[in-house]
């Protein structure tokens, strides 16, 4: 009978959340903001490429000196540039307004900067001087090489395809990292978006004095389990809504948004890594939710409970301070601590799992830690809720509440 009324609780909690206008205002505001940002990127990319093109083709009066000997008169003429008598003369011409730009090409431009002097046209338009100087030099080098193919190779525009092997099998590379890494993104999304709701989920019963009536119709375990599952469903809805503009952008506006090329068909879905990622995601979510519910159960008001939310959020970001270590040295002591400490384990283990450095034994241990931790926290949360939620106005002493299982109760004389 453990599931008595569980479905009713899940339905009530889920429906009442997703039918609230404020839920959709909050949820839709994120994709709307993302759409606005994408729009700005689109406009910016369009105008940037136009500006870059314009800068390369900009027509303005130029004088130059060339110590390298690479720039031929023909190269200079292609840009309308004329040779200056000296650097001092070139700079003087710029300052007097006789020319708009003066370039000083050094003897060794491969390791010495080309000096550009120009009439100030504003921060953005000034970029045209450097663009044209680079174009002049590039043209001169290309003409000297005499082959567009060799010119491209000299410019380093070489495509490389890497194939690595795990044993005899071809390793997936980044294409195998992306799918399991999605679990980390979902985990962050769920916890960051729902932490407040998790914390306040049982406070509502307490603040509204509904606890006693509710607990005569179902077990506290059922209530809390139902709330956790409903929150998970709410989180999935939110993540789906948030992801929608990214998917739309990737599918229909990839070029306009400068989204890097990748073929979805190239993604490698390693069943083991995907399975481990899913289990860590669920276990981590359950652990954080039950912990936040337990905190909420002992606090008399949402305001007081809110002080603890920052701490919980910080716990999931701490592993990111050592993300390079997590990826490059997964067996270093600090990464091992983060891997097995319950509240940093989800993020660390999901990262390592995505990058393929989480061994199967480690994965089993981490999953066990998360699920056992979640079960323990659920029990603690239920106990604290059962006794704490009837202490309507006072903060519950945790030790006393937990001892309630050994035939003690926590309410004070005022509630007799």
């Amino acid at each position: 009978m453990a599931q008595h009324n569980l479905g009713t609780v899940i339905r009530f909690e889920f429906v009442r959340t997703v039918t609230k206008p404020r839920f959709w205002i909050g949820t839709l505001s994120v994709p709307v903001i993302m759409a606005i940002v994408f729009g700005l990127i689109f406009l910016s990319n369009t105008s940037s490429s136009t500006a870059a093109e314009a800068q390369r083709n900009a027509q303005f009066s130029i004088s130059y000196v060339d110590a390298s000997g690479l720039i031929t008169p023909a190269d200079a003429a292609a840009f309308g540039a004329t040779a200056a008598a000296s650097s001092e003369a070139g700079i003087r011409d710029v300052r007097s307004g006789a020319v708009e730009a003066f370039y000083e090409f050094p003897a060794h431009p491969e390791n010495t900067a080309v000096k550009v002097f120009g009439a100030d046209k504003g921060v953005f338009e000034n970029g045209k001087y450097a663009a044209v100087a680079q174009a002049m030099l590039a043209r001169a080098v290309a003409m000297r090489i005499g082959s567009p193919q060799l010119s491209n190779l000299a410019a380093g525009t070489v495509q490389v395809e890497t194939v690595t092997y795990q044993g005899s099998e071809v390793a997936g590379g980044m294409n195998s990292v992306i799918p399991p890494l999605a679990f980390l993104v979902v985990f962050y999304g769920l916890v960051v978006l729902l932490a407040g709701q998790m914390l306040n989920s049982t406070l509502e019963e307490k603040e509204n004095r509904v606890t006693e009536m509710i607990l005569t119709t179902l077990k506290p375990t059922t209530l809390i389990t139902g709330k956790v599952l409903a929150l998970f469903m709410v989180g999935v809805v939110q993540v789906a809504v948030f992801a929608s503009p990214v998917l739309i952008g990737a599918l229909f506006y990839r070029d306009a948004l400068n989204i890097p090329e990748f073929e979805a068909s190239q993604l490698v879905f390693d069943p083991a890594r995907m399975g481990v990622g899913f289990l860590i995601l669920v276990g981590g979510f359950a652990l954080f939710t039950t912990t936040l519910v337990a905190i909420g159960a002992v606090m008399p008001t949402a305001k007081e409970a809110g002080n603890f939310m920052g701490v919980m959020i910080a716990l999931i970001f701490i592993p990111f301070y050592s993300v390079s270590l997590v990826v490059s040295e997964p067996h270093s002591p600090i990464v091992q601590v983060f891997t097995y400490f319950p509240f940093s384990a989800p993020v660390t283990a999901l990262l390592r799992n995505a990058f393929g450095s989480l061994g199967i034994f480690e994965a089993v241990v981490v999953i066990a830690i998360l699920y056992v931790g979640a079960a323990v926290m659920l029990r603690v949360a239920v106990r604290l809720f059962q006794y704490g939620s009837i202490s309507y106005t006072s903060k519950v002493r945790i030790r006393t509440a937990l001892k309630a299982g050994s035939r003690h109760a926590v309410a004070g004389p005022a509630e007799q």
Binding site: M1, H4, N5, T8, F12, R16, E204, N208, R209, V210, E212, M213, I214, L215, T216, T217, L218, K219, Q386, Y387, I390, Y392, T400, A404, G405, R407, H408, A409, V410, A411, G412, P413, A414, E415, Q416
Partner: protein
């Protein structure tokens, strides 16, 4: 023997080392209205919470329908707790339907019942209104509706009239009467003695966490000096084995008569002692008098009536 819907035996409850209820025993029989009386802090709410599984008892047996109460057993319980509230940000119909579902009704039945109830209490237009947009009195009506959904076989009302306006108090009384007529067993936790005298068949009176009196109202009244003689007089009231002086002012006195002594004999005894009696009336002792006497004991421990007269509940 009547079937006990509620059976409490040897119940003890400790809070952080302090015993709040000790060795409490009583039964509530099927179909009766039972008064659970006591002053603030006497352990009434604690007992109800332990009975309903909200607290774990330190010791004792607390049964509903022959076993410890568990929500999943499916007992049809209507519980109006002392601390009241509803989901304030939800619509009235949603809250009522939710509780109906939790109490075992299907969605359609819960909605139909709720609509009929709201119509009855003049809230038919408020089904789609958010609870916190209702007035306090309207919220009380909704709370009552939630309490009696799904025809409770056991109705436990903790301080039922607390905070209720007169209109809702009348509604509550009507509902209690209806539920009783419908076969429900009603437990009223209260210190409103008038209501108890009017509605209850039997009572238990708690004091200092244990039973001070237990039985039918008549039994309790008889045990506490079934009759009160009120006299206006001059002269000193003499001591007597037939009565106890519970109040003695300059020209007014109250005598508690605890046995079958004839009123005429008492009057004769007073007059023989030189007391000039101007008026002499006899009434049954009220529960309020008993209540005041029991709890007044704490201030006047040598009260002649209280000593040794109260009976312990149990058996």
């Amino acid at each position: 023997m009547d079937e006990a819907v509620v059976h409490i035996s040897g119940f003890r409850m400790d809070f952080a080392g302090t015993t709040v209820v000790r060795d409490l025993s009583f039964d509530v029989r099927a179909g009766e209205t039972f008064g659970f009386l006591g002053s603030n802090g006497s352990g009434k709410t604690t007992t109800i919470r332990a009975l309903l599984g909200l607290y774990e008892p330190t010791a004792g047996v607390l049964h509903v329908n022959g076993r410890p109460f568990k929500p999943e057993h499916g007992s049809r319980l209507g519980y109006l707790p002392e601390e009241r509230g509803l989901y304030k940000k939800e619509k009235v119909m949603d809250v009522m339907t939710y509780f109906g579902r939790l109490k075992g009704m299907d969605r359609h039945a819960a909605r139909q019942w709720s609509l009929a109830y709201l119509d009855r209490v003049d809230l038919s237009g408020k089904a789609a209104t958010q609870v916190d947009k209702l007035s306090s009195g309207e919220q009380q009506k909704v709370q009552l509706g939630v309490t009696i959904m799904n025809r409770p076989e056991l109705l436990i009302l903790d301080e039922p009239t607390k905070g209720f306006d007169p209109v809702n108090r009348r509604l509550l009384m009507d509902i209690i009467a209806e539920q009783k007529a419908d076969g429900a067993t009603v437990v009223m936790v209260t210190h409103q003695m008038e209501e108890v005298e009017r509605l209850c068949d039997r009572i238990v009176l708690l004091k200092d966490g244990t039973s001070e009196a237990y039985g039918t109202i008549d039994e309790v009244q008889n045990r506490y000096g079934g009759r009160v003689v009120r006299i206006r007089h001059s002269g000193r009231i003499p001591a007597s084995p037939h009565y106890a002086v519970t109040l003695d002012e300059t020209n007014y006195a109250e005598l508690s008569v605890s046995d079958n002594t004839d009123e005429a004999a008492i009057l004769r005894e007073l007059m023989d002692a030189g007391v000039v009696v101007r008026s002499f009336t006899t009434t049954k002792i009220s529960l309020e008098d008993i209540f005041i006497r029991v709890y007044g004991e704490q201030n006047t421990p040598s009260s002649p009536v209280a000593t040794g007269v109260g009976m312990r509940a149990g058996a």
